[in-house]
């Protein structure tokens, strides 16, 4: 039998729980510090700030935006898992069969991500999205904003919420559909599940193409309500996709180092490495396409986005983002040998995962926290909590089925994969 069952030892699970516990402690410490120290500071300067027309960031705001940031990031990775499987089906790919269960299991985070996202939006929507404030649409209010008001046909509370629920419902539906067929194939064999999966995958890709782009506008772009970029859907997709590929590759390496996935060899790693290498460049291409056009045209309402990000608070993130997500993987993964060695892949994948978290940080923080952002206990704490929960759900999903899709028609081809 080619079946291979993953068993997560209690020790590993405890590590995930410890991760969450440390996260909670850091988060509480961060909140206390901010409520005590930062709050008092802001209290003094409050008169000025109010006069200047904007509020100083409170700890709740910082908490909400951090929850949002991590949720968008991890949901994106989960979604990319389903996307990756769908692409492999539609492309009739053989090589990826042995590692297919890993992207498949990533999708188990989707329901949790959906619930958290709806809750955060309902509770903390005002802290994250400027456009949710009613007074912006009231012509008689001094704070009336004609530009945002003009976008109210798309950006309004109910339509936003409906879109969010619809996207998650569709994603979860397709995830369950593909997953169920994959597991049924294990049980019953035959090629009918495979052919049906291709049809379902093709449908999902259409849904994904529209929904991922709109989700990017909704969840990330609308934070900077006045600003817009036609590259943005692609940009967020590219960032999600690279992070998702890095997560898949990292999991493959970890599982292999722990004695699982015995039939996965350097050739499969090579292909995963090529994927990450190529899409790091793709991300950079999108990044540059967005940056250069705005830089060249130099229209104030567009270039403000990059001026904020090149300001004193975010300048280092701006350049670290490019270094970690482009220069580092580009130079390190360029050679064939690097893509075939687990240690090199491990280093690069971890760097990319951190790098794309920073990328989302850079997309969200300047529009919400303005000059008050930083990477402190709250950021690290929330990220650790999310990472712990994500890993618990993901590894549990991995244990639910054999790591090798034993009856997949292309299994044999994948075993003999050679590059």
């Amino acid at each position: 039998m080619t079946e291979e069952r993953l068993i997560i030892p209690r020790k590993t699970n405890n590590k995930f729980f410890l991760m969450i516990a440390i996260g909670v402690v850091l988060l509480i410490a961060g909140i206390l510090l901010m409520a005590a120290g930062g709050g008092a500071e802001h209290g003094e300067g409050h008169g000025e700030a109010a006069a200047a027309g904007h509020e100083a960031a409170s700890w709740t705001k910082r908490l909400f935006i951090n929850l949002w940031l991590n949720n968008v990031y991890f949901t994106g990775i989960a979604l990319v898992g389903v996307f990756f499987v769908a692409v492999q089906y539609v492309a009739y790919a053989g090589w990826s069969v042995l590692i297919k269960r890993i992207p498949e299991a990533l999708g188990y985070f989707l329901p949790i991500g959906g619930i958290i996202m709806i809750i955060i939006f309902l509770i903390g929507g005002h802290d994250i999205f400027h456009w949710t404030h009613e007074y912006l649409y009231d012509v008689n209010d001094p704070r009336y904003d004609p530009i945002i008001s003009g976008k109210s046909g798309y950006l309004n509370f109910w339509f936003f919420l409906i879109r969010m629920i619809l996207f998650f419902a569709l994603w979860i539906l397709f995830f369950n559909w593909l997953r169920r067929m994959s597991i049924n194939e294990d049980l019953h064999g035959g090629t009918s599940f495979y052919h049906k999966s291709i049809t379902v995958s093709a449908m999902f890709l259409v849904v994904f193409g529209v929904s991922s782009s709109m989700a990017a506008w909704d969840w990330v772009l609308s934070i900077d309500t006045h600003w817009y970029s036609t590259m943005f859907g692609w940009y967020v997709f590219a960032s999600w996709f690279v992070a998702g590929l890095a997560a898949i590759t990292l999991t493959v390496v970890f599982l292999k180092q722990n004695g699982y996935l015995k039939m996965v060899n350097a050739n499969h790693l090579h292909d995963l490495g090529k994927f990450v290498f190529a899409f790091s460049i793709f991300w950079t291409y999108i990044w540059f396409s967005q940056f250069m056009l705005i830089w060249y045209a130099n229209i104030p309402e567009e270039s403000i986005y990059f001026l904020e990000r090149l300001g004193p608070n975010y300048k280092w993130v701006f350049f670290v983002n490019l270094l970690v997500n482009f220069v580092f993987p580009f130079l390190v993964l360029m050679t064939r040998d690097a893509k075939r060695q687990m240690i090199m892949l491990k280093i690069v994948m971890i760097a990319i995962l951190i790098g794309h978290w920073l990328d989302f940080y850079l997309m969200m923080m300047p529009g919400t926290m303005r000059g008050d952002a930083g990477i402190g206990f709250i950021e690290i704490g929330t990220t650790l909590i999310f990472l712990g929960v994500f890993l618990l759900v993901f590894t549990k999903g991995l244990t639910k089925a054999s790591l090798v899709p034993a009856n997949h028609p292309f299994l044999e081809e994948s075993i003999h994969h050679h590059v």
Partner: protein, 174 residues
Amino acid sequence: MNKKFVLGIYDDEDVLLEAIENVRAAGTKIYDVFSPYPVHGIDDVLGIKRSRLPIVAFFCGLMGTSFALWMQIWMLGFDWPMIIGGKPHIAIPAFIPVTFELTVLFSAFGMVITFFIVQRLRPSLKVNVFDKRSTDDKFVMAIEVKEGVTDMSALNNLLRTNGAIEVNEKEVIK
């Protein structure tokens, strides 16, 4: 001067790969193997070292990057400074597309030219086709016969026992 070759004809990829291993294990040097299409894993069994062409590509690419940056910075920054779109003379983001293109161009042309030189490919080149069927549906393993050897039966046996459907001899005029 004439060179003598013994040709083993194979009609199966897997048999061929095994035969190559066995022939090499028996201490016979294989001159070359001709196949109608690239065979997976044949480089390994033939003991062909990995190509160093990627290194050439990298340095040609680096040359392209440097040349493009130097050219644009010198032309637009020093030789004939112009204000374009209110940007500084040396506006790096505007130079990136050209730099990228020249990097690709240099590394691609560098690789092709290096390959031609290393392989001595030129218009006047005459290629000995050992067996025309190697462009159709047969695999041909060529073994050069050492000078002075006249008895081919040993080689013949070696190839036949390893699955050759046919063993021929061919003399090539150099």
